[in-house]
């Protein structure tokens, strides 16, 4: 399989995978599969989907590095945008359907319930990332773009905290997602440490090898 077919296949899998939850929810809402508390179901499934897609997005770079398959990077932007789409859907279901657009209730929850504060913060931080995902913004922001988009780590961390805080007793699933996040972040830490080591190491080594030479030359 050549690289081009591989990428096409990957794109198809990504689009189908990312659209499936929305399609399932839409059909379920119309046909009444969502159980007797459909608003809760919509909230849970959209929230869970956003978190899973965020983790998949964060997995792109490490997998690319491990496999050396560079075209993988092409699905990262659409994945991130899908994560934003589900996070926004999640927030809208909560605000419009669950709280009936009662803005004083929305404000009260955001300000007084730590898990909602954290979830709302994650959505706020994810918004500029979605907005600056275009080629134009990438060009305009230059190096700062990469720095800005490191916020994806913070967003995912806050999103997982939001999930962990809201469950009553059964923390198995949130802990599993947190474990995946920790592994994905470990790749970054390792890469960062390697880079730092290399940067520090190089001048030190250079001096060590240079000095005797120069001394000898003098």
């Amino acid at each position: 399989m050549n690289s081009k077919t591989g990428l096409t296949l990957l794109r198809v899998v990504m689009w189908v995978g990312c659209l499936a939850p929305a399609a399932w929810l839409g059909a379920g809402a119309l046909l009444g599969w969502l159980g007797v508390n459909p608003i809760e179901k919509l909230t849970h499934v959209t929230g869970m989907t956003a978190l899973v897609i965020l983790l998949v997005t964060l997995a792109v770079s490490p997998i690319r590095r491990l496999t050396g398959w560079n075209p993988l990077i092409k699905v990262r932007r659409p994945l991130g945008l899908f994560a934003f789409f589900y996070a926004l859907l999640h927030f809208s279901v909560w605000m419009v359907l669950d709280l009936g657009f009662q803005l004083e209730w929305v404000a009260e929850d955001i300000l007084e319930r730590p898990y909602i504060t954290v979830g709302f913060t994650a959505l706020l931080l994810l918004t500029p990332l979605a907005l600056t995902s275009t080629k134009g913004w990438i060009r305009r922001l230059g190096k700062r773009w990469a720095t800005l988009h490191k916020l994806a780590y913070v967003v995912t961390g806050l999103g997982l905290l939001h999930y962990y805080w809201l469950v009553k007793a059964d923390v198995r699933l949130p802990l599993l997602l947190i474990a995946v996040f920790v592994v994905l972040m470990a790749f970054r830490v390792q890469k960062w440490a390697a880079k730092r080591g290399a940067r520090r190491g190089r001048p030190a080594n250079a001096r060590a090898t240079k000095e005797p030479v120069s001394a000898g030359a003098d």
């Binding site: 009444g32 319930r113 059964d170």
Partner: protein, 342 residues
């Protein structure tokens, strides 16, 4: 609440096939609420199918409801026994449907998702069943369920059920007052509390093979709470036996308290001197107390208890003090700091 008494020997209305069709507007509202404009036409078509099916079944005679769990026939929404039609709570609230009451449950012994109990409780065998009465009573003993229930007059009782998670339902339970049992087993003066325990059967209850809670599930009441006329030992819902997912064959209902007080599948009732250590309180004492009285003014540390979603409704409604039973139970807590005694 609405109380209707009947003897256990009476013919259950669930055995009578209703002649006409019960139009279920709740599921229509639900679908419309969750769906888009198209929802208007599709569910109509669907309910038409369901109607004709039910009509055919009625003309053939035998009941066609799918069996759940212990083989309790599930009356389809259209086959709700006649006496429940139009029945309301004392506040004029409509009853939740059989589907709502039996597919949306918190019963961690069968799993932690709301749909788990109805899906995973098929292997549970609520018969034969024995209830142990222990502790400070004159008449302790192990009672076969039939003997345990025999002396009591069973009643339908329509109660609001308010979960600590801020959702609620209106349920027509079937059972007898807990105070009748207390009187029958004659507690001594040393008995200050009741401690009730759920059965432990990990082979039939898959949730008990995990440690999300400490098993067995334990709940308790103060003696005056147990003697309150509202406290009910339920054996049924909608006039028929409790399905496994609702706590078959015997469970507690204390409608002024959060739902987790309603210990299910009870095998043991001990009369004790000290306040029992109830399961949720042990799990997180900051969030769940012994009393667990419904109180819109005392929020759960993580969410508001001021509002609730009534299953089947789109808009949230205000939560009532003691879940609307203040007149009946308020005096038991006079002078108590309800912010401290959650």
């Amino acid at each position: 609440m609405i109380i209707r008494s009947r003897r256990r020997s009476d013919v259950a209305s669930s055995e009578i096939t209703p002649e006409d069709v019960y139009v279920n507007r709740r599921s229509f509202i639900r679908r419309a609420a969750a769906g888009a404009a198209v929802a208007g036409f599709l569910p109509t078509a669907l309910s038409a199918c369901e109607t004709s099916e039910a009509g055919a079944a009625a003309s053939e005679g035998p009941k066609t409801g799918a069996a759940v769990g212990n083989g309790v026939p599930a009356p389809r929404d259209q086959e709700v026994p006649a006496r429940f039609r139009g029945m309301e709570s004392e506040l004029g609230e409509e009853l939740n449907s059989w589907e709502e009451i039996t597919t949306y449950n918190n019963f961690y012994e069968f799993g932690t998702a709301k749909s788990d109990p109805s899906r995973n409780s098929g292997r549970f065998r609520p018969r034969p069943w024995t209830v142990a009465i222990e502790g400070h009573v004159n008449k302790p003993g192990n009672y076969a369920l039939e003997d345990f229930l025999a002396p009591h007059t069973m009643e339908d009782r329509v109660y609001r059920m308010r979960c600590v998670e801020a959702w609620s339902m209106v349920v027509p339970w079937y059972g007898f007052p807990l105070k009748d049992l207390v009187a029958r087993v004659e507690p001594t003066s040393a008995a200050k509390f009741l401690e009730m325990t759920t059965v432990v059967r990990p082979e039939e209850m898959p949730g008990q093979r995990t440690n999300v809670l400490e098993w067995p599930y334990i709940e308790g009441l103060r003696m005056d709470e147990a003697m309150n006329p509202l406290a009910l030992l339920a054996t049924g819902v909608y006039g028929t036996d409790l399905p496994n997912q609702n706590g078959a064959p015997l469970r507690l209902i204390t409608p002024w308290k959060y739902g987790f007080k309603g210990v299910k599948s009870i095998v043991k009732i001990r009369f004790v001197e000290e306040m029992p250590r109830n399961t949720w309180w042990m799990t997180n004492p900051r969030e769940y107390g012994f009393y667990a009285n419904v109180n819109p003014e005392v929020d759960h540390p993580r969410w508001s208890q001021g509002r609730e979603r009534r299953i089947g409704e789109l808009r949230r409604r205000e939560t009532l003090m003691f879940n609307g039973y203040e007149e009946e139970v308020g005096q038991m807590y006079a002078g108590m700091d309800l912010k401290r005694w959650i």
